[in-house]
């Protein structure tokens, strides 16, 4: 065997990363052994099928990836902070911006949102669980091991280096001869399958498991956004599955899909990638819209303005999201007619998005606004996202795009859309729902400190990129000379990036501080909120609701509190629960081994793990464990403990 291809040579940074990975792994193993937590970890977390715990694991993984992607960002910003910097070489810079994009979109934003959706959606619809709890665990472990597969690429064999869009022929074996893009195709494939399963699971959950009386048009807005998002997932992810499979065939088996000779067609990749890639943008942004709708309504003490138009605008956005993919490559020679079509559909998206912005503003109007941390993020989102949207319309004009394309202007635009449109939202949602999950709030003072650091530094860091783009600085260039004049603004951008780091460190410190010192909530409704998830106690009992609520109005919990509409009318009975299972975790591990073997063309372990996957699936099919019942007395006892009273 050729051991050399496993090694990454010559970079002190990479040796540092290797050492830190090894040390962290040893630290975790020693720590778990010392505190005798292996059994706890296995029983309570690795084998769990509880949607709340799976959600928490998603969020933890996403936070870890946020810091991994953040380190990439800092390295890039440092490298371009001044002319002729020698911090990274060209190859290393390519790997860093590629993994930064991949990780932030696929392994940070999306899992963070899927995590929140896992924790909250079943509660919001008054359900005991998701439709398929075990498949939910499979989803998580496939995502997790996909993410790990991509992460080890940095130290074993080399990371992908052809950009997160991996355009051919650049990503072909000929021009990217390292295993980096093999990692790309397999890591994304594995976690993508997990995402697809999530999509199916949540569509069924939301359509079939709502509490009695919750008509579609009475669903909370976050649940609506999640439903629409999952429909997009189900139709967009198969395209990615195919694209990645073809990429794998090209790179590993010498097929001719995207080659430059023998009938291959490199533009086919660009089309397939963006047919998935553009809807992907809305997969992360639509749930964010849902989160903001909940938060703005709650902290304005008002009904969400224009509920119906909110739903329809999301439906229209989801439809249009599939019709705009070619705006990512206006300049690749597809002709005026095609460009015009995609230009018009792209600009059309601004209309339903504008509707939403006005709905939020009208919700705020005459509201009794309280400026909590989640609300601050939501308020900051509106103007910043509008800047992102307006520059988006500028980019949508095909003719003008010939000027901006592949410049920093584009980079500034999508950071102005995705950071308020996804990152602020998940942070806001995190602060908002944190007390629901853990039973205490995050500290408001620290939260606001982090907020101001993040929001101001974000603008300091990314606004200069608009100007740099207009000055002609192309994206993905790893260095420049002093004569270009890019130096000062790039330095400002770097300073902003440091500020962002400070903000995120304060955010994490807040979690630690609040865990130790924040007072515990007593009634499970610290924000005086509107939707059903706040109707159960915090921390949430395993069965979510002792009695399934009967929904009669929109914002059911609010009307239960305000107008005394009864919510829990039935008696407590025994509750059916699914049993924990280790098979999803094992399946994830085998997928990881299969992926790793394929990356390095180790056919025998790849075939063996393929067989292993089939065996685990068969074992899951033959499993006759139908779960268990929590007896009514136990439920009553738990409720008494949580409420200090009888129900």
């Amino acid at each position: 065997m050729d051991w050399d291809k496993f090694k990454v040579h010559g970079e002190p940074l990479i040796y540092g990363a290797m050492a830190s990975i090894v040390l962290a792994t040893i630290g975790i193993i020693v720590g778990l052994t010392y505190f005798k937590k292996w059994g706890y970890l296995w029983r309570e977390w690795l084998t769990t099928v509880d949607h709340k715990r799976i959600g928490i694991m998603y969020i933890l993984a996403a936070l870890l990836m946020l810091f991994r992607g953040g380190v990439d960002a800092i390295m890039m910003k440092l490298q371009t902070a001044a002319p002729d910097m020698k911090f990274l070489d060209a190859q290393h810079y390519n790997e860093v911006f590629t993994t930064h994009g991949l990780i932030m979109i696929l392994f940070m934003a999306m899992p963070f949102i899927i995590g929140l959706m896992n924790v909250i959606v079943p509660l919001q619809i008054g359900a005991r669980d998701v439709a398929f709890p075990r498949l939910n665990a499979v989803s998580f472990w496939l995502f997790f091991f996909g993410a790990m597969l991509l992460n080890i690429s940095f130290v074993i064999g080399g990371s992908p280096d052809a950009g997160w869009s991996a355009y051919f022929p650049l990503a072909s074996l000929e021009f990217s001869p390292t295993v980096g893009n093999n990692y790309y195709s397999l890591a994304l494939q594995i976690s993508g399958i997990g995402t697809l399963i999530t999509g199916v699971n949540f569509i069924v959950t939301i359509l079939k498991m709502r509490a009695p009386g919750m008509k579609l048009m009475k669903m909370p807005m976050f649940t609506w956004s999640v439903l629409i998002t999952n429909v997009i997932i189900v139709f967009a992810f198969p395209v990615l599955t195919v694209a990645l499979a073809l990429m794998m065939f090209d790179r590993l088996f010498g097929s001719q899909f995207f080659t430059m000779a023998n009938g291959g067609m490199d533009m086919l990749w660009a089309n397939l990638f963006w047919v998935w890639g553009h809807p992907e943008v809305y997969i992360v942004v639509l749930p964010a819209f849902g989160i903001y709708s909940e938060i703005i309504a709650t902290f304005s003490k008002k009904n969400l303005y224009g509920y119906t138009s909110m739903v329809f605008s999301m439906l229209i956005i989801s439809l249009l999201s599939f019709l705009v993919w070619a705006h990512h490559f206006y300049t690749m020679g597809q002709g005026a007619m095609v460009n015009s079509f995609f230009s018009i559909t792209t600009m059309a998206i601004a209309v339903p998005t504008g509707v939403k912005i006005f709905n939020w503003l009208f919700t705020l109007r005459k509201g009794r606004i309280s400026f909590t941390t989640p609300m601050l993020y939501s308020l900051a989102f509106i103007p910043i996202f509008t800047i992102g949207g307006v520059t988006g319309v500028m980019l949508a004009m095909a003719s003008a795009d010939y000027q901006y394309h592949n410049t920093m202007f584009l980079v500034a635009h999508f950071h102005y859309v995705l950071i308020p449109g996804a990152v602020f939202a998940v942070i806001a949602g995190f602060h908002y729902w944190f007390p629901k999950v853990f039973g205490f709030r995050l500290n408001e003072r620290l939260g606001k400190h982090a907020f101001w650091w993040i929001v101001i530094s974000f603008n300091v860091s990314f606004f200069p990129l608009f100007l740099l783009g207009l000055m002609g600085m192309t994206r993905r260039q790893y260095t420049y000379s002093a004569e270009t004049g890019f130096g000062p603004l790039s330095m400002v951008s770097f300073v902003g990036a440091i500020g962002l780091v400070v903000g995120f460190v304060i955010l994490v410190y807040n979690i630690y501080w609040s865990t130790r010192y924040e007072p515990r909530d007593t009634d499970g409704d610290p924000w005086d909120a509107r939707t059903l998830e706040w109707a159960t106690k915090s921390p949430i009992p395993a069965y979510n609701f002792a009695v399934v609520p009967n929904v009669k109005t929109r914002d059911a919990y609010w009307s239960a509190k305000q107008d005394k509409v009864p919510l829990f009318e039935d008696k407590i009975t025994k509750i059916h629960m699914p049993s924990n299972t280790g098979k999803p975790f094992i399946l994830g591990v085998i997928f990881f081994i299969a992926g790793f073997s394929l990356v390095f063309s180790l056919w025998i372990p790849a075939i063996l793990s393929g067989v292993g996957i089939l065996i685990v699936m068969a074992a899951m099919s033959f499993d006759r464990d139908h779960g268990f019942y929590i007896p009514a007395e136990e439920v009553i006892a738990t409720e008494k403990k949580l409420r200090g009273e009888t129900v």
């Binding site: 569509i203 069924v204 001719q256 009938g263 068969a618 033959f622």
Partner: protein, 198 residues
């Protein structure tokens, strides 16, 4: 688990009907998957470079047998579900087994065809057209292979447990899957083979 006797066994619990609905959603994703593969094929169909084109390698004989086998197997899985609804376990298992055997026959012919293609110098690596042909047919074939293994697992469970809400549910979902593969094959038969031979 509450069993609702007014519904067919495969729908009789909430879990069961959720699973069937979930499978329909999954089939939506499968349609997107095959639609993408067909699109790739149509983009690639004339890009055979210096390699053989469709009319050079396609033969109608084996394809007709494949079609016959798969269409008949779709019929027998329907009969199996029909027998299941009447509670005839033995008949159900016979029809189920026949379905799987015909699936196996289909696979055998497909593999022989692939071997012939490769002998004629038409490999995955030859041209864009052949890459897309092999991947489209191969994905369908892989689905049939998976279906065979899956069906075999269900058949064993039927043998051991009889017709229960759980096994009825699995068998019904399997029948949906099998019909879907048949539909995909009809598209392959029409738009790959017949169109290629014209």
């Amino acid at each position: 688990m509450k069993i609702d006797a007014s519904k067919p066994l495969e729908y009789s619990t909430e879990e069961n009907s959720n699973k069937i609905f979930g499978f329909w959603v999954f089939l939506g994703a499968e349609i997107a998957l095959f639609a993408t593969l067909f699109t790739v094929y149509f983009v690639m169909v004339d890009r055979f470079a210096s390699g053989p084109s469709g009319p050079d390698i396609f033969e109608i004989g084996p394809v007709m047998i494949e079609t016959l086998l798969l269409l008949t197997s779709s019929f027998t899985i329907g009969l199996a579900v029909h027998a299941m609804r009447h509670g005839y376990q033995k008949a159900m298992m016979v029809f189920f087994g026949l379905t799987l055997l015909m699936g196996l026959g289909f696979l055998g012919i497909e593999i022989m065809e692939f071997v012939t293609y490769v002998h004629e110098g038409a490999t995955l690596q030859t041209s864009g057209f052949l890459s897309s042909l092999f991947v489209l047919l191969g994905t369908h074939g892989a689905h049939v292979t998976f279906g065979f293994l899956w069906g075999a697992a269900i058949l064993i469970q039927l043998k051991r447990q009889g017709i229960t809400p759980a096994t009825a549910n699995k068998s019904f979902i399997f029948s949906l899957y099998w019909h879907f593969l048949d539909v995909v094959w009809i598209f392959i038969f029409s738009f790959v083979y017949l169109k290629g031979l014209m």
